[in-house]
Subunit: 534 residues, 2 copies
């Protein structure tokens, strides 16, 4: 272990977070000897750096893979050209133990390189990539439940650095654990700035060469993914989108596929990635649904980690029943349809666009904070998850969509709305439940009771059968009393005010038909929690 | 003209209202001579009273009709037995002039009676029965627009007299111009009292004789209809309903039909009647949809005035496209479906149950006042009409649905909610428009613009083509500005706060794409009104 690598490890140990573990340098693996690399904690990123040819077009002409082995298990991953004669292979070890690797390439100097590294225990706070658990819910690879409470900053990586730092700070302090964000820069109303980096090399006329990705662009994206990883936020990375003036949305199929493989080779080793094939894929008029089917298959084939995969639409839903889709990513606020979709697809559902809190001139960008808060509650008691977005235009600025103000939804920056605090409150309630469920695979998150008199969802115990917790959201109903039909057992009851963020524990133990006097105010919630003997 | 009739006329002239014009007494038409009756104002009720047999069962054994003539026009109406040897024929003259009549009966002493009366100009405030106008809207027979702003007091006629008087006073002072109410008494949660009158004669064991209507019961209903007429309120009279413990909902088909014909004979001459064949017809398990088809045909055949006809459902919609249905009477708050229904049915739509403002333990009875207000606005900008109901349980009373508190929705009494004042405000806005439209048949009420960016509806001018007025309701949207796409012409603009009931006229004249700075608050409205030259 080199001194440099010891330093890296010490840094990791003290902060509990890290960017990229530079686990080797090209010199270390030259000459055919097996390289011994520094230890890599489980679910962090091992990176092998090799030197190779820089002539011709290394992006298209050089093939590089590496096969990682642990005992009799092997995992083959794609390498990529990072410019300036540097080739890299990244790998996220998911199991502790002594891993070895061997490279393979059509370029002799990159082929047959071997090495080894120990994968050691995960860092504090690292639980692995998020997976589907119990059909409609999510958990990290180590079994820790994950309840997505996402937000949306489509183009935050393509703003000035100060604004990016402010966005990271807002995310660090905010209620969100997932962010929807685009790889490519964005051209749209209120989005007129040029990005700091272009995704591909351009000649002096500004023409793109889609055969030559810009390594600085992708390194920047990776830095932001690592920044999010360090603060425990999942990067729901949008691979294509229609809001474009640079030609990234209308590349040839060959270029699309090559771009995808490049991203997959570079980024799959980040544990906090979710792949969103596109935002509003149906608005990309030069691509067909079959193109997106193919993209899914490329992701399946070239992502060795098997990150979550979905695609987001505008008007025409993608067929989420396809086996290659791990979860639905909806644009709708039709929560009444959730029960049917959950049943049909047998997958988790994220309502990823339910409109945004704000005051924009566009109807998708001017929900009240109350309505955004309500939609989060409706989603949770529908047994689903909801994603936030915010679009507050400063009224003292020009009221004109040809300007480029700072709107959280696209640029990041600061949060101004009233819903984030209420979303934090709801997340805490949901995570209390998730925490009680622990890593037991038989427990579920909230499952809706669609036939119920009022909207409610419940969790079950380790047997998968006994109701543990019931969360009612009364929406616009304001009953002065109601007789709640509790399942068998003894329960504690709480009145919850989602807007005032208050929980009032009702004295007593409740069983059977439980008549409670309520506040007579709308938008209240009630929670029942099973009491244990002793 | 007898002294008694002069008194009646004087009373009418001084109050502008009247109950029943007792236009003749049995003595006046005895002996075969043509009787000369007092004048009847247009759209009031002429009543002929005859003496006949009281033995046997006059309800089933005696047929009586009268044919009224004006020039070459004849109108035949059914008479009815009113008990104690009295037979009556009622007629609502719709045209001024000298009417004559001749009776016909299977009982000689009731047959061949003739008489005449002048029909004179309508009383102030009397505009005739309400008709459909311009496909989706309503107007009185004289062309005056009528925009229904209804409420619901199902069983108010079956409460104690003090409460009925209080209800009438609340209606007189309130914002409503239509009331949904049941002929039969009601047995349901919170409705456990016996009615003051039973609909049919009962023997000492309490068994009903469905061949013998109780004239006192029906006279009482008519008094209430007349009381409503006197304060300008349409009686949306519900002829059947399932909330029953007296057997009225499960009579034989023969009894149902005889009851209907009795009601039609007695009440068709009240100009403020709307026929609602049933409330929640689909919950009447002993009747089929075909039974209701038949009821519609009986009403069509035996109502000489042709009052409005509909039927209300719980879950299964009646087919409102049937030609015998004049308008839809919905139980839903799905306003998004309105455009499709309006187009399919080509009839007015009343959202007659959108749930009720209140605090009841039942989900249909605990909307907030804000939500009820919102639903009225959603209905209007959908080009439809909405009906109110209120169910506030006094929290100091026993919270138990086996009690019989006073709830407006069923018993009448006083209004407690926050929505009625806002409904009054909306009604005023809509009636300003209606008043501008006047009696010109080519003008319409608000027609929705379903493809619009925000919810809005507009009215047209006398040509049927030029937009006169546009009403936007922004619902949960809170834009800080928006560019409204105005049609050709010059408009005034107003910002409207539906909850605060404020109208702010914006200075200036607006044309074309009109960018307005708005409040940034949700649930606001904007109205544009065409400016006339000069």
């Amino acid at each position: 272990m080199s001194l440099m690598n010891r330093r890296e490890m010490l840094k990791l140990g003290s902060t509990g977070s890290l960017a990229i573990l530079t686990a080797g340098v090209s010199g270390a693996v030259s000459g055919g000897a097996e390289a011994a690399h520094a230890a890599v904690p489980q679910w962090e990123t091992f990176e092998l750096v090799l030197s190779g040819p820089s002539s011709g077009n290394p992006f298209t002409e050089v093939d590089l893979t590496a096969t990682f082995s642990l005992g009799h298990r092997t995992v083959t991953v794609d390498g990529f050209y990072d410019g300036a004669g540097k080739y890299k292979v990244r790998f996220m070890p998911d199991t502790t133990g002594d891993w070895t690797y061997t490279t393979s390439s059509n370029v002799p100097e990159l082929s047959g390189k071997t090495g080894r590294f120990p994968c050691v225990a995960a860092l504090a706070g690292a639980h692995g990539p998020v997976r589907v658990r119990n059909t409609h819910h999510f958990a990290y690879a180590d079994g820790t439940p994950f309840s997505p409470f996402g937000t949306t900053c489509y183009a935050w990586m393509h703003q000035g650095d100060d604004l990016q730092q402010q966005t990271l700070e807002s995310l660090r302090m905010g209620p969100f654990n997932k962010i929807r964000m685009c790889v490519f820069p964005k051209s749209y109303q209120y989005n007129h700035n040029e990005p700091p980096f272009y995704s591909f090399e351009r000649n002096l006329s500004g023409e793109h060469d889609f055969t030559r990705p810009n390594p600085a662009f992708f390194a920047h994206v990776e830095q932001r993914i690592a920044d999010l990883r360090a603060i425990g936020i999942e990067a729901d990375l949008i691979l294509f989108h229609p809001y474009d003036r640079w030609g990234y949305s209308t590349m040839s199929a060959e270029s699309d596929d090559r771009y995808l493989r490049y991203v997959l080779a570079r980024m799959s080793a980040y544990r906090n990635i979710w792949w969103s094939l596109a935002n509003e894929f149906d608005l990309m008029k030069t691509k067909s649904t079959q193109d997106f089917d193919r993209f899914f298959h490329i992701v399946e084939q070239h992502d060795p980690v098997g990150h979550l995969r979905s695609v987001h639409y505008s008007h025409v839903q993608y067929d989420y029943s396809h086996p290659w889709v791990t979860h639905a990513s909806l644009q709708t606020s039709n929560f009444e349809a959730a029960a049917g979709w959950l049943n049909a697809w047998q997958k988790p559902i994220c309502y990823d666009e339910v409109m945004y809190e704000g005051n924009l001139n566009s109807r998708w960008g001017n929900l009240s904070g109350e309505e955004m808060t309500r939609r989060f509650w409706l989603g949770i008691v529908a047994g689903c998850y909801v994603t936030h977005g915010e679009t507050y235009l400063d009224p003292s600025l020009p009221l004109d969509e040809n300007t480029t103000p700072t709107l959280w939804w696209s640029h990041g920056g600061k949060l101004h709305g009233t819903s984030p605090a209420r979303i934090a409150f709801l997340r805490k309630l949901v995570e209390e439940t998730a925490s009680e469920m622990g890593k037991d695979a038989k427990r579920t998150g909230f499952e809706a009771q669609p036939a119920a008199y009022y909207l409610n969802a419940s969790t079950v115990d380790a047997t998968g059968k006994v109701t543990e917790e019931i969360l009612y959201f009364m929406d616009f109903h304001q009953p002065i009393y109601y007789e709640f039909p509790l399942p068998e057992g003894r329960f504690a009851a709480e009145l919850i005010d989602p807007w005032e963020m208050e929980v009032s524990v009702l004295p007593g133990v409740f069983e059977g038909k439980t008549k409670l006097t309520l506040t007579g105010r709308p938008y209240q919630a009630v929670r029942f929690r099973r009491l244990r003997a002793g």
